[in-house]
Symmetry: C2
Subunit: 191 residues, 2 copies
DNA sequence: AGCCGCATGTAACTTGTTACATGATTTC
DNA sequence: GAAATCATGTAACAAGTTACATGCGGCT
């Protein structure tokens, strides 16, 4: 039910097309809410029907036309209402952790590969998040930012994403170390 | 699709009823995979049909009869196959973060309450996880444990859960501090 | 010539959630 | 005497995934 609210929250940054939202969900909202483009298109239709967002068509010449959505007053009210309700506990679904949980000695090599790949994408994400944080701070220190900005939510959720990715990276290193201690130097290339 | 594998992984600890699994998912598997009892019952039927688990009925006198499930060889093989596939990226859905993202000054009090409640349950979880960790280590240090145990997965996923909850708690404190800096001492009871 | 980005959508299917129903036993 | 625990299940609905389809413009 809260996909609705995640979309409304993302629209607080300003009007956006379904395509724009899909990108936003991919790079930033994904920290705390995952959704595919198809979900967004479907949900946007519903939100427009329910009057929680305004939809307006923008005709473009060199690009396909697009529908641009923005928050309505009713949408803002729905968000406020949602914020007042008790949040459901965090739901996580993580293939990699299932794989680690279940692995036996024979699976170590496969898992090592998955961990290495995850490490790389986490490091990427972290770098992007940190760049975004610096852009937000814009020279101020954190205290000044938090005191001065009208909306501090985006900074706080970003901080959580940064901590999460750091934790992820540290954990990946730990797992690799544990596997190395178990099966020393199985991979070629080291003397 | 990996609910299947999360169940199979959980059954590596030994045979269990649907009810047992629901509890296990609630207290430990929930770190990396969330599932309701109803999902488990449905999926267990499918797994039994597909031959990935054995089901056997245990008649009890003072309690309702139960169906107890255990991994079959086919189930073990399915897990190995799953471990060899590329994991999908972590999916998170977190109401509280959506609320923080979207909050305006008027919502600060409500969010403060949600954060305080989350802080309490996270602290509880963390305490349970740390107790479980000590029970696993059973006096050994981590290096000895990782070198000696046949299956190190459960320890590693638990370590991730511990780090995650610690991160959560730290973040909750940060958010409370940010809110306090904004709206100092709104709540009564302090001089 | 072929791929990537923009931009949306339909349809079929699989998962996940919620509400309800049952009923004995043990604990407060 | 009420509530929690044990133990399962049905059914209806909501949400999420996957595959497919379209078509132009810009880049290499």
């Amino acid at each position: 039910m809260a996909l609705k609210d995640a979309i409304l929250a993302t629209l607080l940054h300003g009007e956006a097309s379904g395509y724009d939202l899909a990108k936003a969900f991919d790079v930033s909202t994904a920290n705390f809410w995952t959704a595919s483009p198809q979900q967004l298109y479907r949900e946007l239709d519903r939100l427009a029907d329910a009057g929680l967002v305004h939809a307006r068509v923008v005709n473009q010449e060199k690009r396909p036309n697009k529908r641009v959505f923005s928050l309505s007053d009713a949408g803002r009210a729905a968000l406020t209402e949602f914020i007042a309700t008790d949040p459901k506990p965090t739901a996580i679904r993580d293939d990699l952790l299932v794989q680690v949980e279940a692995m036996g000695p024979g699976d170590h090599e496969a898992v090592r590969g998955h961990i290495a790949a995850t490490l790389a994408t986490s490091a990427d994400k972290l770098a992007r998040y940190e760049r975004r944080r610096l852009r937000m701070l814009d020279g101020r220190d954190e205290a000044a930012y938090l005191a001065g900005e009208p909306r501090i939510g985006p900074y706080l959720t970003l901080a959580r994403g940064i901590a999460f990715e750091r934790g992820n990276i540290a954990w990946c290193h730990d797992v690799l170390a544990a596997l190395d201690a178990r099966d020393p130097a199985v991979t070629p290339g080291r003397a």
